[in-house]
């Protein structure tokens, strides 16, 4: 099922003001309803390599599998929706590729990347993430952070050691507790959400949410949500205007209409007509 007329997608990645190169990577496949954002880490250019591998591997592999499997169906063996199985498996594959490259080549040793990936299907979205790259959702003019960072800071907030207010100025903001490519195995966090026409999903690297307040992000999406390209540019520009201390990456996805999966022979016939 081609989702390119159900979803509007806009993405932008920028090195920021301070950093000389961009270790973030973004990828979007509107037809398959897939968007991927990764924020790489590691010396020299290893960060770019890790994030680039993550987005490329996941995009290519998921596209290939979606040619054969319908994501909304439920796997009889695991009783889980295929979308979840597909993402989990491809995230593992990307992890293995990055980990092996890091092991094989000394200049890539220790490289890794955060990840946030969304697969849209059947009026739903499957969200996978690792680390501190985030997904937000704007619905009914309210911005909500959908993912919870895998970071030391988030764990401290959860444990009640610090307040979210204190977190804004806290130390070791940069320590993530899960990432892709660091260990031979990986456990991505995956959740499914229902979508509604009019929803705007924002995937971003910490270069955006560290530099721009949630209020300003919400304001931008509300004001420019009907013009996604302007909104992505505005978000990146605000991060840079506020200092641009890190690479900034943004993907916006707007749900234009319902996109139920074609069910049964008749539904499939109509889907085929479209």
């Amino acid at each position: 099922m081609n989702l390119s007329d159900a979803l509007e997608i806009s993405s932008c990645t920028d090195p920021g003001i301070v950093r000389s190169h961009n270790e973030d990577s973004v990828a979007a496949d509107p037809a398959n309803g897939l968007v991927v954002l990764a924020d790489g880490m590691g010396g020299y250019n290893a960060g770019e390599v890790a994030s680039g591998m993550a987005t490329t591997v996941i995009q290519a592999e998921v596209a290939q599998i979606l040619g054969n499997v319908e994501p909304h169906l439920i796997d009889e063996k695991t009783n889980k929706v295929f979308a979840e199985l597909i993402l989990r498996e491809q995230i593992r594959k990307a992890n293995a590729s990055i980990y092996q490259a890091a092991q094989a080549q000394s200049q890539y040793a220790g490289m890794g990347t955060t990840l946030v990936v969304c697969l849209f299907y059947d009026n739903r979205v499957m969200v996978g993430h690792l680390g501190d790259s985030r997904l937000y959702r704007l619905r009914d003019k309210k911005l909500k952070q959908v993912t919870r960072d895998h970071s030391l800071l988030q764990e401290q907030i959860d444990a009640g050691l610090i307040t979210p207010e204190q977190a804004k100025t806290a130390a070791h903001k940069n320590l993530v507790t899960r990432a892709l490519g660091i260990d031979p195995g990986v456990e991505p966090e995956l959740h499914e959400y229902r979508t509604q026409p009019g929803d705007i999903f924002l995937l971003c690297s910490d270069g955006l949410c560290d530099m721009v307040s949630d209020e300003d992000i919400a304001l931008t999406l509300k004001a420019l949500g009907r013009h996604l390209n302007l909104a992505t540019q505005q978000l990146v520009q605000m991060a840079n205007d506020n200092g641009g201390r890190d690479n900034v990456s943004v993907i916006l996805v707007r749900v234009l209409r319902e996109y139920p999966a074609a069910r049964g022979v008749v539904g499939k016939f109509f889907a085929w007509l479209k």
């Binding site: 100025t169 320590l175 300003d216 506020n242």
Partner: protein, 299 residues
């Protein structure tokens, strides 16, 4: 930048900044630091400097390399370490301020805290909690994290001989102890990427926004004529949805107007602004969806 002070019998001979990633030491003239003494091997040792961390490695020299009286193969150099090569001494002086605070750009780089280190940090926090309460626990945890980060930085490059604090530090009774307890043996790398600087410094508060001029709009025509609107937010939308909409963005360098929707672009002082953002000057007159308004700077 870190530097070495070369001396012999208490006499300072030379000051050498560690400006290169690899600084070689030996008797041959090809070395960066040449020490013409028979006790020094042709290629004696090398100092690898990554970001603000320097690591000394003996290159299989005949008489060995001694740091602070102990022979070493690999060593994570700390401020005031003294390297001995025969009769010569090289004192290592770290970059001032580096040990207290890595530069902002460096420590903001994302690093992974791996579960093994995480567990150690949590354990330490717990150990500290009964005696010191949550704040102490937090400190202990932060200290543990710093240790983990520091250990990884050294362990990654300096390998197992590293004597840097390890995440698996001895059990601790309190926060103060946690910061001071060096690990007895080899540090397992806990944080990636290897070689990244310790994330020891507290993060700076978000950069305060530079003092920005405050601008405002006064409506000149139509039913709302005379009304004024202060442009406090980073962006303000103007116009009628479906007809013509523009957005005014507030940036450090001033205000900009950008066309958002509508068949026609808004005009400033009678000129259409086109599709690119247009910088506004004091007393510019904007015309949008049939309404004239004046932009002015309130100071």
């Amino acid at each position: 930048m870190a530097k070495l002070i070369l001396s012999m019998d208490g006499l300072v001979l030379k000051e050498i900044p560690l400006s290169k990633e690899r600084t070689t030491i030996g008797r041959k003239p090809s070395n960066d630091i040449q020490i013409d003494n028979l006790a020094v091997s042709g290629e004696h040792a090398v100092i690898v400097t990554i970001m603000s961390d320097s690591f000394l490695e003996d290159l299989g020299s005949t008489n060995g390399t001694i740091v602070n009286g102990n022979p070493v193969k690999k060593h994570f150099l700390q401020n005031n370490d003294v390297i001995e090569l025969g009769k010569y001494k090289l004192k290592f002086l770290a970059e001032p301020g580096v040990q207290a605070a890595a530069s902002a750009a460096d420590f903001e780089k994302t690093m992974v805290l791996r579960p093994s280190a995480m567990k150690a940090a949590v354990d330490q926090a717990r150990a500290a909690a009964p005696s010191g309460g949550p704040q102490q626990a937090d400190k202990a945890r932060a200290a543990a994290v710093q240790q983990a980060a520091g250990a990884a930085a050294s362990a990654g490059t300096a390998a197992k001989e590293s004597k840097a604090p390890a995440p698996a530090a001895a059990p601790t009774g309190g926060a103060a102890h946690a910061t001071a307890s060096p690990a007895p043996t080899g540090a397992a790398p806990a944080v990636a990427p290897a070689g990244a600087p310790p994330a020891a410094a507290p993060a700076e508060a978000p950069a305060p926004r530079p003092a920005q001029l405050l601008g405002a709009i006064q409506i000149l025509s139509g039913s709302n004529a005379g009304k004024a609107l202060e442009l406090v937010k980073p962006l303000t939308t103007l116009g009628k949805p479906g007809v013509q909409v523009a957005v005014l963005t507030r940036r450090p360098q001033g205000y900009y107007i950008t066309h958002v929707e509508g068949a026609n672009q808004p005009s400033v002082n009678g000129q259409s602004i086109g599709s690119a953002p247009h910088a506004l000057k004091d007393h510019d007159v904007i015309e949008l969806a049939g309404v004239k308004m004046e932009f002015f700077v309130k100071g």
